[in-house]
């Protein structure tokens, strides 16, 4: 089975492995397959960027790793953290994993911090629930340390502040402090800088790198931004229509893409050399949740390399280099740079 080959390539020495992950949102009227068989692993202390456009299934994958959604969600596949099969845990066992071994930084910290409780109390709670600090006083001291560790200049004030009293950047730092409080093995960050200004984004990305060096955690960074992926990731997994289309080291995937979608996505961002009005574009749009999935390659209708067989069978992810896999048999390992995009 192709998945087995892929597993070896992608999960050797991994802390966290995700095997054939499937996420389906279902209600009485319709079923939406948001994630359709995604496999990857992440090594200790490394960062994997899950890169894709809206609706590609990147956030749904990240949330499924922690079993965050229950109602109306069908999960398939296996998530393994070290020797623990996370996907087989009961809800009460999951509670210990969440925020302990695997923690999450959301896109919008206003949604994850409790608006009615002071920031300090929220960090203290995490520390005590997971048994890191049993003594209230000691927990407060640790919380204070954490806040100064994430670059908050005035931790004693922020301890007493409510989330709405902080700026966006400070709030995201507070959410990161909550997430790293228990020194998680894996940190999942879902577009953590998308709502922030660029200068603050730069600060927060740097903070992730510093904390990673200190704690040794693996980071899964969900992002739509090629620039962010290039900056922070060791490995990049590109998602399209709920499937992985390419995965490999950041240099391989973003500099020598082996899937036409990756190449076109990288190319659609202007560079100083791009002539005005001649941006490379991908015709059409990504499939939405209501669209019927393709029988063949999901990208085929927008792909300039597509041939007849692309329409009939979904291409498997196959190795195209060391630790570099792509799901396109047509371009055979490397998208010719001058043909990647279509200038319109």
């Amino acid at each position: 089975m192709s998945t087995a080959v892929a597993m070896d390539e992608r999960t050797l020495g991994a802390t966290l492995t995700v095997d054939d992950l499937k996420v389906t949102f279902a209600n009485k009227r319709q079923r939406v397959e948001a994630v359709r068989g995604v496999t990857f692993g992440i090594a200790p202390g490394r960062t994997l960027a899950l890169l894709g456009e809206s609706g590609s299934g990147k956030s749904a994958s990240a949330r499924a790793i922690m079993h965050l959604d229950n109602r109306g969600v069908e999960l398939g596949g296996q998530v393994r953290l070290g020797d623990t099969i996370v996907s087989a845990l009961s809800e009460s066992e999951l509670q210990k994993v969440r925020g302990g071994l695997i923690a999450m930084v959301p896109q919008d910290p206003t949604a994850s911090l409790d608006p009615l409780r002071r920031v300090g109390a929220q960090i203290v709670e995490v520390l005590r629930v997971h048994g890191i600090e049993t003594n209230r006083r000691a927990a407060r001291d640790s919380a204070m340390n954490l806040l100064s560790r994430v670059g908050i200049p005035d931790p004693s004030r922020v301890m007493r502040a409510f989330p709405h009293e902080l700026s966006g950047g400070m709030r995201q730092r507070a959410a990161i402090a909550v997430a790293v409080a228990c020194r998680p093995t894996v940190l999942i960050a879902d577009e953590p800088t998308t709502a922030l200004d660029v200068t603050v984004q730069a600060q927060v990305l740097e903070l992730f790198s510093e904390l990673q060096a200190e704690v040794g955690m693996s980071i899964i960074m969900v992002t739509h931004d090629v620039g962010v992926a290039r900056e922070i990731a060791d490995y990049v997994a590109v998602m399209y229509a709920g499937r992985l289309v390419e995965i490999g080291s950041v240099d391989d995937v973003l500099e020598r893409p082996a899937h036409p979608y990756t190449a076109a996505l990288v190319d659609s961002v202007p560079t100083p050399e791009t002539k005005r009005g001649e941006l490379h574009v991908i015709p059409g749009r990504p499939p939405g949740p209501g669209d019927t999935p393709q029988t063949g390659c999901d990208f085929a209708p927008r792909c300039k390399f597509a041939i007849a067989s692309c329409m009939t069978m979904p291409p498997p992810l196959v190795p195209v280099g060391t630790g570099h896999l792509a799901a396109c048999p047509v371009v055979d390992g490397l998208v010719p740079a001058e043909l990647a995009g279509v200038a319109v």
């Binding site: 456009e53 660029v198 200068t199 009005g277």
Partner: protein
């Protein structure tokens, strides 16, 4: 620079809550030119745009559009002005009436500018063709369109009265990158056809550089630097511009770190508003507010320390 289309001088806006959103901002847009405004949230770029559109009245300052003073226009004159001055908003989902078809929304715009009923459908079809949607989209409703398609419809609506200036306020920010590229190319193509000028506001620096002839950098309600886009990116002079450009993901060269957040616009620092986060600030920066002064032809900088010899200092 060509013939000036819009000349705004000393625009100032203070909101009732005390926030000085725009503080003495002057800008000129020539016919057919694209001027970009960059800056972080709260820098006053959207407020400036809203004053230019006369959606907000400035507390002080003057504006001329095609030689006519527009700062104090009454309602009926304002209406005819708005035919020449249009907006493509950030979020088309909230700017289209969900209960009107795309064609009816555009027709509403056209009729309010005196178009006769019998000419409407031909005009709407032509507009939707120009933005690459096709006339059949006229009967569709906003919820039936994707974000990119709806933004094309918003562009068609903005162009319906043959405006001379279109303000694009974060017009492509909500779109996926692959769709964003399509819309950016469309904006350029339409400009080449019609000679419309754009005031392009975005937090996305790469997009602004790509699209703009000239760029204005704002910080805390003030213009700190302006100049031709390519030159500004190659050789930024203001310490804030340098930090901003270096913070963009994928930017070349070492990153200049800014500490902390911008100060509150309700209570800006004395002197230079950037001095509290500036690595090269000196005592004088706290005393005197730096004037925008010309450092090279068409380059202006508001920094006491931005002398050619000091520009390369960290």
């Amino acid at each position: 620079m060509g013939e000036p289309l819009l000349v705004a001088e000393h625009l100032t806006k203070r909101f009732p809550n005390g926030v000085l959103a725009v503080d003495d901002v002057s800008l000129t847009i020539a016919k057919g030119e694209t001027v970009g405004i960059v800056g972080e949230s709260g820098c006053g770029k959207s407020t400036t745009a809203r004053m230019i559109l006369r959606l907000l009245s400035p507390d002080a300052g003057s504006m001329q559009f095609a030689g006519e003073e527009i700062g104090m226009l009454g309602r009926s004159r304002l209406r005819s002005l708005r035919a020449k001055l249009q907006l493509v908003p950030q979020n088309p989902q909230t700017s289209f009436n969900p209960r009107l078809s795309i064609g009816s929304s555009i027709a509403f715009n056209l009729q309010s500018h005196g178009w006769e009923k019998r000419r409407l459908s031909a005009r709407i079809g032509e507009l939707l063709d120009r933005v690459g949607l096709g006339a059949s989209y006229s009967s569709r409703y906003p919820h039936e369109l994707s974000g990119g398609q709806l933004q094309r419809a918003a562009i068609a609506r903005a162009l319906c009265t043959d405006p001379e200036l279109v303000v694009c306020d974060e017009a492509v920010s909500a779109l996926d990158k692959s769709v964003q590229a399509q819309v950016l190319n469309l904006l350029v193509e339409l400009q080449r056809e019609s000679g419309v000028a754009y005031l392009f506001i975005s937090h996305d620096l790469t997009v602004v550089e790509h699209l703009s002839d000239r760029v204005i950098v704002m910080y805390l309600g003030r213009v700190v630097e302006e100049g031709p886009a390519a030159e500004l990116w190659r050789n930024p002079a203001h310490p804030y511009t340098k930090a901003l450009l270096s913070a963009s993901p994928g930017a070349a060269g070492p990153r200049i770190k800014l500490e902390g957040d911008p100060p509150s616009p309700a209570n800006p620092p004395s002197g230079c508003c950037f001095r509290t986060r500036c690595a090269i600030a000196i005592n004088e920066c706290a005393i005197e507010r730096p004037r925008l002064r010309e450092t090279a032809p068409s380059r202006r900088v508001a920094c006491l320390r931005a002398e050619p010899a000091l520009i390369s200092a960290p």
